[in-house]
């Protein structure tokens, strides 16, 4: 190690606060990005694993109509057509009846057809250890993995109570699937049942969900396609999980972008730190230069320091990320389960990509942000090393140019955002120049704010006030970065907060219009935002005939898989009074309902946006009787699904689909009956064990809002995390700033300033900086919010939202800025006031 490196290391060690805070800043930035990546990756990996365990070696699947595939078609393929590599499958979910309501996938298979498909069910070292006889002949028998058995605290021969489609059943544990290391986590959430048992448990007597098939060439594919009746389809076996992942794409991108925001804040911090370390060592650098160290060597020292800080910060970042991700996974999988599909994430998965991305963000970003300070250091002229004011005055000279550049950047950002595109990344990319533009405009804002506040401060706090305010400008080369970093973090808070509240009030308005009934009835569902369980039409008839039921609405939701896409179709049987619950974006409100009753369809706004459809477009759908065209009569506002919905009149639905049962029922209570009486009557209907979820308007509204809030919890968490990063940033830069003014403050003390006055100066100054940051953050925050509401959300999901500025968010933002600044000033202020002038002034 040469003496230059030693000197640089000694500098870092001698300034542990500065060093530690820069490491922490980078660590936090990296941690947030990486933990979001890990959480996303782990949930998608968990989903993939469970899909793979289910799909096995099948290359394709034959899917049937909405009613599935009749048993006889399978026999026909096997016996008449001699297909050997096919296997029937029933797939469903069950949830435990105990307190934790854990969800398991129920897979119904024919053991004798399994050999070519799922290793864990045949051959290859893995098979069933339990009693085959029970598995095949005893009703409600299942087998599961050792791991699952352990986690349930059960043993073979025990029963376990579960809820399937809202009906409670007792499953008999007949035996074990022996797992190996590879399939272990995939099998953890799996109950395997015989196909007969699965039919009985899921009430799909006579039908199977799909047929797994191994197809080796295209000829065979064509041949099989020709055998399929109307409404059947042959699809690649990965396509089901692909559509599931497509659903999450926008959700994931938005999370990642939020995490990048935290990193940008972190970058400011790094830049700030590195600049400081150069400025503070100007004398040292000047000395080194004068004894013959070249400017290249100087810049190398600085860059090497950046690398060290970057690496240490990144390592810490990964460590922190590991813990944060554990906790983010809970939120993310909750949201996925609320909105999209059932997934259970138990393990953390890290891909090499995540490591590469995290490490390059941490290290390369640190180096990049150190380039300018390194250059600056290399330019230090041995003679001018002592003059700090030179740098300040040079920055002040640059302020007009910077402001112009700032405006140019903002314009560039606006132009990028204006480009019509569905690409979410492009939209986020447009935000970047706007942020840079704001950062570049920060000095001029500081000057303006100071111009205004200097007299006010003088009036309020006397000469110390004026000194406090003036020194912000005197140290503008540092103060502006600290202020910009804080402003950006707070703006992010304002932006995300305003977006969420705008979204929330839009959704509430919509919910209140749409939920225009008194009592809502459905079966218990595993996915909160969707009813995946079905009530029999018999229950519908029974409810219709109850006293006190004035009008009734019902709907059936089904999924249609076609051409690698997954559509949600809602068939509604609406009473006329509920028509008003629909607000149309496109389509003549006087006409649409007539068209609808005549068999045309409505699309929700996100659906129309996603597939570029408008009124008059024709949508081709796979029905149970083959493909049929449907004309679009109207596009309505809807926030129930980001995937979009197709709505069709129930009577027309029944013409094209054989589906039995309804997903949900809502009723209007007759005058003279109390809602609760009717609710109780519904609850006492004889349902053959089918559980009913009966909710009143208020309850359903509130629980919908609760789900909404739960969905955005993760955004809030990220928001808080980026404020923490910003806080660390402001703390480290203000502290460095004040510590650097040691001599200046020493002189003031020597000239008679009291320690308390000194403390006051420091704190008044940081307070003003916080205020300036707040002033900057409010417009930037609202611009960010507007971009999120009008561009990002629109492009991600196709939703139109009402923009709403909440004063409370603005006030909160200002308080956060001031509080962060104040807190950051306390320690340096205290330390400065305690330092004896003699010590502060001693140079050597």
């Amino acid at each position: 190690m040469n003496s230059l490196t030693k000197s640089s290391l000694r500098y870092l060690i001698k300034h542990p606060w500065q060093f530690g805070l820069s490491v922490l800043g980078i660590a936090m930035g990296v941690a947030i990005v990486v933990s979001i990546d890990i959480a996303n990756f782990s949930s998608s990996k968990a989903f993939d694993l469970s899909m793979n365990a289910v799909a096995g070696k099948a290359t394709h699947q034959i899917i049937g109509t909405s009613e599935g595939i009749p048993d006889s078609f399978y026999t026909y393929l096997r016996i008449e057509k001699g297909y050997k590599n096919i296997a029937p499958v029933i797939e469903s979910y069950v949830s435990l009846v105990d307190t934790n309501k854990k969800v398991f996938k129920l897979l119904g298979v024919d053991f004798f057809a399994e050999r070519p498909f799922r290793d864990y069910l045949s051959g290859a070292g893995v098979s069933i250890d339990g009693e085959l006889k029970n598995f095949l002949t005893k009703p409600n028998s299942i087998i599961l993995s050792q791991e699952s058995l352990k986690s349930l605290g059960k043993s073979i021969g025990d029963t376990i109570a579960v809820l399937i489609n809202g009906t409670e059943r007792n499953l008999f544990i007949a035996g074990l699937i022996t797992e190996d290391e590879q399939n272990k986590s995939a099998l953890e959430n799996l109950f395997i049942a015989d196909i007969a048992t699965a039919q009985e448990l899921t009430n799909k007597i006579g039908a199977i969900d799909y047929i797994d098939i191994i197809i080796s060439n295209e000829d065979e594919e064509v041949k099989i396609n020709n055998l399929l009746p109307d409404g059947f389809a042959l699809q690649k076996s990965g396509s089901r999980s692909q559509t599931a992942e497509q659903m999450l794409e926008a959700f994931n991108i938005n999370l990642t972008s939020l995490s990048l925001l935290a990193l940008i804040v972190g970058l400011f911090l790094i830049y700030n730190t590195m600049t400081f370390s150069v400025v503070q060592r100007k004398v040292l650098i000047g000395t080194l230069r004068s004894i013959g160290v070249t400017s290249n060597e100087i810049s190398r020292i600085i860059l090497r320091e950046a690398v060290i800080i970057g690496i240490i910060g990144t390592i810490f970042g990964f460590t922190i990320a590991y813990f944060i991700s554990k906790f983010l996974i809970v939120f993310i999988s909750q949201t996925i389960n609320d909105l999209y599909y059932v997934v259970s994430v138990r393990e953390i998965y890290i891909s090499p990509m995540i490591i590469v991305k995290g490490a390059s963000l941490g290290i390369i970003a640190t180096i990049l942000s150190a380039i300018k300070p390194a250059k600056e250091a290399s330019r230090v002229h041995p003679r001018s090393a002592m003059i700090r004011s030179e740098q300040e005055s040079s920055l002040l000279k640059k302020v007009p140019a910077m402001s112009i550049a700032g405006v140019v950047f903002i314009v560039i950002g606006a132009v990028v955002l204006y480009i019509p595109s569905k690409n979410i990344w492009l939209s986020y990319f447009g935000i970047l120049p706007i942020i840079i533009g704001f950062a570049l405009s920060t000095p001029v804002i500081i000057i303006i704010v100071e111009k205004i506040f200097s007299p006010v401060y003088k009036k309020l706090f006397g000469i110390t006030g004026k000194m406090a305010s003036r020194s912000i400008i005197q140290n503008i080369s540092r103060t502006y970065i600290a202020i910009a970093a804080l402003a950006l973090a707070v703006a992010a808070t304002v932006g995300v907060g305003t977006m969420i509240s705008s979204f929330r009030s839009t959704v509430i308005n919509w919910l209140e219009a749409r939920l225009n009934a008194d009592v809502f009835i459905s079966a218990p569902s595993l996915i909160s935002r969707r009813n995946d369980a079905v009530l029999s039409e018999d229950i519908l008839t029974k409810i219709k005939s109850l006293d006190g039921v004035k009008d009734i609405n019902f709907y059936r939701e089904i999924e249609i898989f076609q051409e690698g896409k997954r559509y949600h179709l809602i068939a509604t049987g609406l009473s006329k009074r509920s028509y008003s619950g629909f607000q149309f974006k496109e389509g003549d409100p006087d006409e649409v309902w007539n068209l609808f009753e005549n068999g045309e369809i409505f699309l929700s706004e996100p659906f129309a946006y996603k597939y570029d459809l408008s009124v008059g477009s024709v949508l081709n759908l796979k029905t149970d009787y083959g493909k049929k065209d449907f004309r679009v009569a109207g596009i309505y506002y809807d926030y129930a699904s980001d995937q979009g919905l197709i709505t069709i009149h129930y009577d027309h639905f029944k013409k094209y689909w054989k589906t039995e049962g309804v997903s949900g029922i809502s009723i209007f209570v007759d005058d003279g009956y109390s809602i609760n009486t009717v609710k109780e009557k519904i609850q006492s209907i004889e349902t053959n064990g089918q559980q009913l979820v009966v909710r009143t308007y208020k309850f359903l509204r509130d629980s919908s809002i609760e789900i909404f809030d739960r969905t955005f919890l993760i955004a809030k968490v990220l928001q808080i995390l980026s404020v923490i990063v910003a806080f660390i940033g402001i703390l480290s830069s203000l502290m460095s700033l004040q510590l650097e003014r040691k001599r200046e403050l020493g002189i003031l003390r020597a000239n008679g300033l009291l320690p308390s006055q000194l403390f006051k100066i420091v704190n008044l100054q940081t307070l003003l900086m916080g205020f300036t940051a707040g002033v900057l953050a409010l417009p930037l925050g609202n611009i960010l919010a507007a971009i999120l509401v009008y561009i990002i959300n629109k492009r991600s999901f196709g939703w139109t939202m009402q923009f709403e500025i909440l004063p409370s968010i603005m006030i909160e933002a200002m308080i956060v800025s001031l509080a962060a600044a104040l807190l950051a000033g306390i320690y340096p202020g205290y330390k400065m006031s305690k330092t004896s002038p003699a010590n502060a002034l001693r140079e050597e």
């Binding site: 048993d71 006889s72 399978y74 026999t75 096997r78 016996i79 008449e80 001699g82 050997k84 024919d110 053991f111 004798f112 045949s122 051959g123 070292g125 893995v126 098979s127 069933i128 250890d129 085959l132 006889k133 095949l136 002949t137 005893k138 009703p139 022996t178 015989d194 196909i195 007969a196 048992t197 039919q199 009985e200 007597i205 006579g206």
Partner: protein, 377 residues
Amino acid sequence: MKNFLFIFSLVVLLFACDDKKVIDSEKGVSLSKAMGEVADEDFSKAVDKRKFVFPDDHGPHPAFRTEWWYFTGNLSAGDGKEFGYQFTIFRTALSKEKSERNSEWNSNQIYMAHFAVTDIDGNKFYFDERFSREGNNLAGAQASPFKVWVEDWQIIQIQNEVLFDLPIINVRAKTENFEIDFILESVKPFVLQGDEGLSQKGKQPGNASYYYSYTRLKTEGKIILEGKEFFVNGFSWMDREWSTSALSEDQKGWDWFALQLDDNTEIMYYQMRKKDGTSDVFSKGVFVDETGSSQLIKKDDVVLEVNDYWESPTGEKYPSGWNLQIPSKEIDLKITPAVRNQLMDVAIRYWEGSVKIEGTKSGSKTAGRGYVELTGY
């Protein structure tokens, strides 16, 4: 003779962790042990003699644990090419009664089929197996019209005409590279094996099966090997057996012979081998004359010697040539496998193959063809 085989293979396929390994390490010693894993329940047992009734007894007997429909045959093509085949459908019950359930897939009966063709001139052996449940019509058996099937491998009555209590049947099975499609009609009456159809296998009462055979069925049809079609004719042998019994503790396996001599007579003989290497007293057989009348052959009537061995690629040493003498009938036969490797390397491994016969009968030269089954090696 295959009931043990079937249960064992199911046990192995579905319960054990590595089917091949179980056989390798225990070499069939575990037959009885493995059988013990399927509970005996209260299945019916072959204890008393019964009256055989047709066509009913061609159909399944679900109250017994195991049952099979066994066909082997030796055939020739017009150009003199020779072939052998084995096609067997097995049934096993998981419980005596089928539980009342809603799903069509619900079954307590499992079916397995073994299918093999020997291309004698080409010195090649083709084999495959299938498993299925009875549910959803994937497999099953019925007496009238007679039909036994495991998916598209089937034995089906094709006419109402009945010869010697057996309808004319079509036997067909197909895999990717070999296929058979035959018409079979019996030319002799059925033969009741053992004591009027009750075939005792061990000391314990009930350790027996009900067993009858059609020893000579005229067979015509086609064999397709690797896309090449051969029109063939010759004779088949059909065995029907059902039981709930297991091998005794001291029994290890068996060697089973079904021989069709050119003078229109047949011999069946099975030798139960004990773990100590000796032949069990329950070994027995039957001699069928030209008219179809039969005589029991007891162990003491027979001298059976192995004159050659063959080591399978999987490492077991199988007998591969015999001298079989029945002194009381002046029969002295040399039995040689038509192809050495006729190893059924399926879920459970055994040797089952076409054999050629040469020798003397009452002083004059005789010849014939037949099938031999070797288990527990």
